[in-house]
């Protein structure tokens, strides 16, 4: 089913939803945008091409999250309430929505389910918005996605003049738009053209065929020294990455809370062992871990690339390192004889 949501009615419909759900929408923060709770004064930042700087994964895996509250004297603890009230995230980009689905394979795995992640996922409706003019740093089509990819979303919007066309994708979103008028055949055709044009505007950023095998092959080569040379090890590529999920667990003694915080394989201490041994002592091994995880290990796990091509790591790297260039170099890197 497809509906037309007039832009002038957007605030009204968001307010209506806000009565039943906690609604998050991208809003202007400094020169960027970020998902924040909707209020009637919210300054929405939905205009393509701008994705939020801060990834919406934080709505499910917060940068810092209390897991348990404890008393260190008695060693007793209490659980915290993991189930939020019903939530609706409006304006999610397809790259970020796909990332949620990828992360479900980690946090809602068959062996162990993560209750903190799962409770928030189960309580959340995701309304996406496609990218009519994908910016130059985006490469979703290279990694199996697209600017109007529906993967992981409950509904997706396409911007038209003065309105949005809404495609309903799951039952969860069905009643939300029921008061709107249906789209006309012309509008549907127009949207199809917009989506195709956006998709076709993105040329392949690098070759993915055989890339995993190539990376596996050059695991011990000098390639990693070269591509990690200018890395500062700041970790921003991983913190802003929608598919990076590593976390640390620490006890905050003053607050009496066991907390998990985002962590990053780009930090030396991340894999530092108590004995002093570190399997990833330099930027070379740490950069290798980041790229191998996304472009080799994810494929071993679920046969999909663990990168959705959002381009945040490219856009926000302080020294301008570009994962696309790194992977193009990998493809052309001559395998070296590293063993006698």
């Amino acid at each position: 089913m497809m509906y037309i949501l007039e832009k002038k009615k957007l605030n009204k419909i968001l307010s209506t939803w806000a009565q039943e759900h906690e609604v998050f929408v991208p809003q202007k923060v400094e020169e960027y945008s970020q998902f924040l709770p909707y209020t009637e004064d919210s300054e929405l930042a939905l205009k393509s091409p701008h994705n939020t700087r801060y990834p919406p994964k934080a709505l499910f895996l917060p940068q810092s999250e209390v897991m348990l509250k404890f008393n260190n004297r008695t060693q007793k603890y209490e659980e915290v309430n993991t189930t939020p009230k019903s939530r609706l995230v409006f304006g999610v980009r397809p790259c970020d929505a796909k990332a949620f689905r990828l992360l479900d394979t980690v946090f809602d795995a068959e062996d162990y389910a993560d209750p903190y992640w799962k409770a928030k996922r189960d309580a959340t409706i995701l309304i996406g918005i496609g990218c009519e003019v994908p910016p130059s740093t985006c490469f979703c089509t290279t990694v199996g996605g697209g600017p109007f990819n529906q993967d992981g979303l409950d509904a997706i919007l396409t911007e038209l003049e003065g309105s949005y066309l809404v495609q309903i994708l799951t039952e969860k979103a069905e009643t939300l738009f029921a008061s709107l008028s249906p789209a006309t055949i012309e509008q549907e055709k127009q949207v199809e053209a917009i989506q195709t044009k956006a998709h076709d505007s993105m040329s392949p950023a690098f070759e993915t065929d055989g890339l995993k095998q190539k990376l596996d092959q050059i695991f011990e080569s000098s390639y990693w020294d070269k591509i990690s040379e200018s890395c500062l090890g700041c970790g921003i590529c991983t913190f802003l990455c929608p598919t990076c999920f590593c976390f640390d667990i620490v006890d905050e003694v003053q607050r009496k809370e066991r907390v998990r915080n985002w962590d990053t394989c780009m930090f030396r201490i991340y894999s530092q062992e108590a004995s002093g041994h570190n399997p990833r002592p330099t930027r070379r091994e740490r950069t290798r871990q980041r790229l191998m995880h996304k472009y080799s290990y994810w494929l071993d796990h679920i046969d999909e690339i663990g990168c959705t091509g959002c381009g945040r790591c490219v856009r926000y790297c302080p020294v301008g390192l570009d994962i696309r260039a790194m992977l193009r170099t990998a493809n052309t890197h001559e395998s070296e004889a590293v063993h006698a």
Binding site: M67, E110, D111, Y112, D114, D251, D263, C265, Y270, E273
Partner: protein, 285 residues
């Protein structure tokens, strides 16, 4: 093991029943833990397999992973031997009988005992990594389990005699007619009548037969690194040599990311791997 909707980050409440030093330099301390709730006890022993580990949890200090050093039949307790290394283990060493502590586990795969049935076991350990091998040996010793395996050879090395763990019990192994025990220390000491030398050399001298045998090696990385080739030279095939790996860990259930080698997580795909499996993984240890 599936968490069936339980929160897998919740530590099971336990108490320490016995705490004693294992080494004369007081760097190794053994803690024996009992469950506060019968249901937790039942659940643990239902799942536990030698070679598995647990996350010990001390609120205010955090968590750290330790291999289980006891067999299920030994009693209603879970034993850990802890080397004093950082702030968590420093604090754990101060704990005494009666103190509360939390535990998450058992975690990881443990030794593939089903596959080893009917085989000769060659158990090779060095330093405090011998703890899970001690659990394995104790498991095999039980009259109900002993017929499942053929010959049993244990080689255990420590830097000095003072660092040898589980002394009194291991002393009694020399009297057993169903096993061989070889203990070694690095340099000669007065009153030491066993092997002197590094574990790889002792393995070379003892030369256990690879015939219908599996070998398990746990020790410091340097010991493991030099022992594996000795076993290969003795004729052990890569899929009959096993080792247990360690890495920095947080969650213990394959979520937090850091303990991977290639696409395997030490915490949930390991910690026990065969040499054949390790040869498939990138060199990221």
């Amino acid at each position: 093991m599936h968490n069936n909707g339980h929160n897998p980050y919740k530590p099971t409440p336990m108490h320490i029943v016995r705490a004693y030093y294992e080494s004369n330099d007081r760097s190794l301390k053994t803690l024996e833990l009992v469950f506060d709730h019968q249901a937790d006890r039942d659940e643990f022993f239902e799942a536990y397999n030698p070679g598995q580990f647990c996350q010990l949890s001390i609120f205010g200090k955090g968590e750290a992973p330790f291999g289980v050093a006891s067999a299920a039949w030994e009693g209603d307790f879970v034993r850990f031997t802890i080397q004093k290394m950082g702030s968590f283990t420093q604090y754990a060493h101060q704990l005494q009988a009666g103190d509360a502590i939390g535990m998450r586990g058992p975690l990881g795969n443990g030794f593939p005992l089903e596959d080893w049935k009917g085989k000769n076991l060659v158990i090779i350990g060095g330093g405090c990594a011998f703890s899970t091998l001690y659990a394995l040996t104790k498991h095999v010793h039980h009259p109900q389990n002993r017929p499942d395996f053929d010959q049993l050879v244990v080689i255990y090395g420590a830097r000095t005699s003072g660092l040898c763990m589980y002394k009194h019990d291991i002393q009694s192994w020399y009297q057993r007619d169903d096993m061989e025990i070889h203990q070694a220390i690095d340099v000669p000491e007065e009153d030491w009548s066993h092997h002197v030398g590094y574990v790889p050399d002792v393995v070379k001298n003892v030369a256990p037969s690879p015939e219908n045998a599996v070998a398990v090696v746990c020790g410091p990385p340097i010991m493991t690194k030099y022992t594996l080739p000795v076993l290969v030279e003795l004729g052990f095939a890569p899929d009959t040599i096993f080792t247990s790996l360690e890495k920095r860990m947080k969650c213990g259930i394959g979520k937090c990311g850091r303990c991977n080698i290639g696409s395997k997580y030490i915490c949930k795909d390991g910690p026990v791997f065969s040499l054949a499996e390790l040869q498939e993984l990138p060199d990221d240890i």
